[in-house]
Amino acid sequence: MSGAFTKSMARNIFYGGTVFFFLLFLALSFDTHSQLPKRDMRQNITPQIAEGKKLWEVNNCIGCHTLMGEGAYFAPELGNVVVRYGDEGVKAFIQSRPKDGIPGRRSMPQFNFTDEQLNAIVAFLKHVNSINDANWPPNDQG
């Protein structure tokens, strides 16, 4: 760096640039918020779906699975699992996990959910599937 470019110039560019791009980011975020209602299907969120999201969280499902591609990579994507299995299929799968796992295979815990809880989880997963996420994943296998 040549002598003409001083430390105080570098500092000013740092503060100016940071403030400018942070404000630009805020503006984009603000615009995103005005567009989201058309994409995130919030009008369909029922107490049951909210309950499903809570169950998703307090059982740490994200610790093995991805949801819209985010999470862990140990087990399948669940944002579109209702497409692969259907509502009843998802419930049957969750219910039928053996308590002690499957010898030699990646095993999912048995959570002992009630029917009501299973319905809430499926409602949440169906809701996630309905979100307009720019056609991700590339195919039904997730």
Partner: protein, 458 residues
């Protein structure tokens, strides 16, 4: 050591290394569960081991950052720490809170932990990296604020160097963006949107300020290059970081329900994010080449150069690999992501902490640098861990490419689990590379106990 109060850094560094060992042991458990699916099941399911692995990582990095700041700030400010007692009290609070959290993860089912710790009052748990129970999250905020108070007061009463200012901005940013972890709306798109304000704006924003500031400090100390030059570089680097990294957040807004224009904003700005990492590497090599003195601590200089290179590879090159929207469409949430996450975290944040520890620990133990035997051992551990991490990354990348191909690109896409079985070989190789990493870490710890001829007193 120049200021007595710098000594509070020592327990922080020791705790950081201890937690690092725990992180790696759980990494090896995870790696085994990838190939022997029911390993330790149902005692420690994968999701529990993963929380322990990633949360220990975050906590040990935070211990490292705090220790580094306590060491560096008095020397930069040319004054004793505002309150060494507070720093020591916070150390114990943070350590006990962290330990209890890990015990909680392992001892009771996560849902029970949520129930017991008041998740019903404010639902914040069960999101990746932010799994901590509410009391832990609040504890983190309290500790962070008290810590910030302590070092901000120190800077205010002493000299205000650019290195300190950049560090303070980074640390305050860390605390501020953590607050988004308390925001968890039922609308899952909004939840994800703001989750990244913690996660992305940490690692690709404010943490890079901490990284740059530590690196600049150690380079000044070990090379003797003029402060004006080093601080100018530092400003240029952190400018590049924030003007690319803030809007670069958009690379996480491609497929989570956010508008399509993020595919442009995110791709373009995040494609520029490697530049500051590249600048850091050039910076480190440049300063070392222009050195005015031969510092006896060769190991610390090696870590400084290493963190530049590995951060550039892990964050810059492996980040760029999957950051353009048309590529990310296929690689999103695969082993490619894991490959990048590993090398980036190791290269940037693990290594910069190890650099600071390497530089400061000998001085805290009353010598300018460790003896020859100890340094040689430390350099061996540097190479072992770093090369092991390169292989972990390469194996995961291979696994990821095959996964994407088999599951997402091919004309007859395979189900997830079927594709996973076909790429087992790479997971086995990753696990063996992980064992090599652990051996490197053991050597690292051994280097602290290797005596040998000690260099002149500090």
């Amino acid at each position: 050591m120049q200021y007595k109060s710098q000594a509070v850094a020592k327990p922080y560094f020791i705790a950081a290394i201890g937690l690092f060992v725990g992180q790696i042991l759980f990494g090896l458990i995870l790696g085994l569960q990838y190939v022997l699916g029911d390993f330790l099941f149902p005692a420690i399911p994968f999701n529990v081991a993963r929380m322990v692995h990633t949360n220990l990582l975050i906590v040990w990095l935070l211990f490292g950052f705090m220790g580094g700041a306590y060491y560096m700030i008095p020397e930069e400010s040319e004054t004793e720490l505002f309150s060494p007692k507070l720093a020591l009290a916070l150390f114990w609070i943070f350590l006990v809170a962290g330990a209890l959290t890990i015990v909680g993860y392992l001892a009771v089912p996560y849902a029970t932990l949520a129930e017991l710790t008041g998740n019903n009052l404010l639902e914040t748990m069960g999101r990746e990296f932010l799994e901590q129970p509410l009391p832990t999250k609040l504890g983190i905020v309290v500790v962070a604020l008290a810590f910030l108070f302590n070092i901000t007061m120190t800077v205010l009463k002493g000299k205000k160097t650019s290195i300190s200012i950049v560090l303070l901005l980074g640390l305050w940013g860390l605390a501020v963006f953590f607050l988004f972890s308390f925001y968890n709306p039922v609308n899952v798109v909004l939840d994800k949107f703001f989750w990244w304000w913690t996660v992305h704006l940490w690692v690709e924003g404010v943490w890079e300020l901490i990284l740059g500031s530590f690196l600049a400090f150690v380079l000044i100390k070990t090379t003797g290059v003029d402060r004006e030059v080093i601080e100018k570089w530092l400003y240029v680097i952190v400018t590049l970081t924030l003007i690319t990294g803030i809007i670069g957040t958009g690379h996480h807004y491609f497929w989570i329900g956010t508008p399509e224009y993020w595919q442009w904003w995110g791709s373009i700005f995040s494609a520029l994010e490697p530049i500051p990492f590249f600048a850091m590497t050039v910076f480190a090599f440049n300063m070392v080449n222009r050195r005015r003195r031969e510092h006896p601590n060769k190991a610390a200089v090696l870590w400084a150069l290493g963190t530049g290179v590995m951060a550039f590879l892990g964050a810059g090159v492996w980040g760029f690999l999957h950051t353009l929207a048309p590529v990310n469409y296929y690689t999103h949430g695969t082993q490619i992501t894991a490959a990048h996450g590993h090398m980036a975290f190791y290269g940037a944040y693990a290594m910069v902490n190890l650099m600071m520890i390497s530089y400061a620990m000998p001085i805290l133990r009353g010598r300018a640098a460790n003896g020859n035997k100890s340094q040689v051992l430390e350099m061996w551990s540097f190479w072992l861990m770093t090369v092991a991490m390169v292989f972990i990354t390469l194996f995961l990348t291979a696994a990821g490419i095959l996964q994407v191909w088999l599951q997402r690109v091919s004309d007859t896409p395979l189900p997830f689990m079927v594709a996973q079985e076909k790429i087992q070989l790479f997971y086995w190789m990753r696990e063996w590379a992980g064992v090599a990493f652990l051996i490197g870490l053991i050597l690292y710890i051994a280097s602290f106990f290797a005596g040998g001829d000690e260099k002149e007193a500090a």
